[in-house]
Symmetry: C2
Subunit: 370 residues, 2 copies
């Protein structure tokens, strides 16, 4: 095996996954619910799914799981953060269309139920609901000894927005300002590669980090004292952006300091890293000329795994978990508004009209497809 | 091993599962969303979860998976029905509170994505959406080679109803008439026991059934010709009761032939069998004096597994997948209305005031707790 690692060699075949999903979607047919009735699908310009009509409002559903980050939680038997991860993956997606998350349900599949683990999951989900300001409206625990060998956790979030107020990216223009919101760590993507690198290096999740893990843009959730362990850094819960993004959207709807239309696109940086930006508009480009600081774990994974720089940016969030594209004339107001509520928010770039691609301050970090 | 089998010996520890779920729920806190706002939880008398406020309406979420029925689908590589099972488990739960299902999202976890399987799942979900009359509003496929060894499929359904029109069981009275809706087979519960019996007997899922599998109350979904195979019977998709129950509720809301209040309770017969009825009311009893015919696979499992009769009725639906408790004066009208839309609907019993228990035409089939 070469020292140089990438996401595909970590066992995740993105093309195969894409073609499987395409097969599933290809087999679907048009909804039986006619336009203008409750539950009818809403086609937005950005191609966002999950929106349905509901009278004067739209409802949005998002479903996602924590993925292989769970294997680290399982290995360390530390379940305190995974409910937050699960919530974050879903509600952060809802925010991208301008929806306010209001409710959540969880699905847990286990080889065998364990009351202690479930109590920890419950506490984690309760904290997640508090952070995302949603009601936990139900859940299911399935015992599937023949199907799962370790705990799997996924969930579904429900959000709403007034009809006609979806954020779709369709009004994006060259010159729009990109505001980056800092991530709290690796969030919940890229863990096949994380685990492979850690295995390759031969360190243990209970070892102290071989790097300075504290960073002013995030707080680590700790269960040891002294120097943070690798496990604590790798399991740090995904940031939930409801606070401040829901409030920002409502501020725009009230129109006191800026109009809602000033927020032209919102992007959750998940698997695919910066290439996620390309999903917001069919032709405009994205220039990240002043990126947020790279969190220390990314720098360490980069070096320890000998991962190509470009591969790092299409696998991980690298320190920026969400990007807002805002109208230039309101950018300063929105930036100040956000900075009062979250440390580390900054202008990271601009929308540009030089082709459908992402460019970055670092040479070679460039993407022309998602 | 004794010849006599039960659900616990099939590897499912219901008590452990209950205590794990209780641990999770115990760790939760009150919702942060105050009463009277969108997303606030609604406490119904029957203790039904999943309902939240949304202006003049209530929204309901249900989340559930197909469970170990998937292992048979996986063994036979027959995925055509599992999307219907997944949909049914969720939308049938929504019907019980009087909600109309409008949208659905699926979650698939696989060791490795397979486009052929996903195409079959997509076709199955498309058919499920048609039957349940919902929009597929999204989905997620997760590749989790370290966590799942076989495909796991779960989903979440969203429904709605006008505020004040939930069906809660609180108005149930002795004398209310129980109308049974036939099941299409084993549905999606009790498969740990099913699989254990089939293994014990030493038959193969590709063998022809050692019993007459056709029954006038259901149609088998076939992929062979000739005598049905055991696999075809065991994988027959769960019946989706949206048609006729959503229409029945709307008929009640329009009030042309009977009022909505005539429908006092709706029960989806899932794991726990007839004991599910006890969840609808804290003190009344349920007398099933004229049960629907037992489907042939249940009779065969009963005999082949040497399962106690009572254990059969608290594990399986035994031929009745849903029960409606209706006001006596409107029972005949509602029965006729339902019979025009579904073969095999019949009056099966009454609500009685002789203690919080289920009694049955068969001696010994009695339950006093869920």
């Amino acid at each position: 095996m070469s020292d140089r690692m990438d996401y595909a060699s970590a066992g995740v075949d993105i093309d195969l996954e894409g073609s499987a999903v395409a097969s599933l979607i290809g087999a679907l047919s048009k909804s039986v619910r006619p336009q203008g009735t409750r539950g009818a699908p809403v086609d937005l310009p950005g191609g966002f799914g999950g929106l349905i009509e509901f009278g004067e409002n739209l409802l949005a559903l998002a479903t996602d799981g924590v993925g292989s980050k769970l294997s680290i939680a399982s290995h360390l038997q530390q379940w305190g953060g995974v409910g937050i991860d699960c919530m974050a993956m879903n509600v952060n997606d809802l925010l991208c269309v301008g929806a306010e998350p209001i409710a959540f349900v969880d699905y847990v599949a286990v080889p065998k139920p364990d009351p202690a683990i479930h109590a920890a999951l419950g506490a984690s989900l309760a904290e997640a609901c508090r952070q995302a300001r949603v009601t936990l409206a139900g859940g299911e625990t399935a015992s599937l000894p023949g199907i799962v060998t370790e705990l799997d956790l996924s969930g579904t979030a429900l959000g709403w927005l007034p009809k006609g107020q979806a954020i779709t990216g369709e009004h994006l223009q060259a010159g729009d300002v990109l505001i980056g919101l800092p991530s709290s760590g690796i969030h919940s993507n890229g863990y096949s590669l994380v685990r492979k690198i850690i295995e390759h290096v031969g360190v243990s999740y209970t070892d102290e980090t071989p790097f300075e893990a504290e960073h002013p843009h995030r707080t680590l959730t700790r269960w040891t004292s002294g120097t943070p362990t690798l496990g604590e850094v790798m399991l740090n819960p995904t940031r939930i952006y409801c606070d401040p993004v829901v409030d920002l959207l409502n501020e725009g709807r009230n129109g006191t300091s800026f109009p809602l239309e000033a927020v032209r696109g919102i992007c959750h940086i998940t698997g695919g890293g910066l290439s996620n930006l390309l999903r917001l508009h069919p032709s405009l480009g994205w220039d990240i000329h002043d990126p947020l600081p790279v969190l220390p774990e990314f720098a360490w994974l980069h070096q320890a795994g000998g991962v190509e720089t470009r591969e790092m940016y299409r696998t991980f969030n690298m320190g920026m978990g969400m990007v807002l594209a805002v109208q230039e004339q309101h950018a300063a107001t929105i930036l100040d508004w956000l900075r009062e509520r979250m440390t580390g928010v900054a202008i990271v770039g601009h929308v540009v009209d030089n082709g459908h691609r992402v460019t970055h301050a670092l040479d070679g970090v460039e993407f022309d497809h998602y």
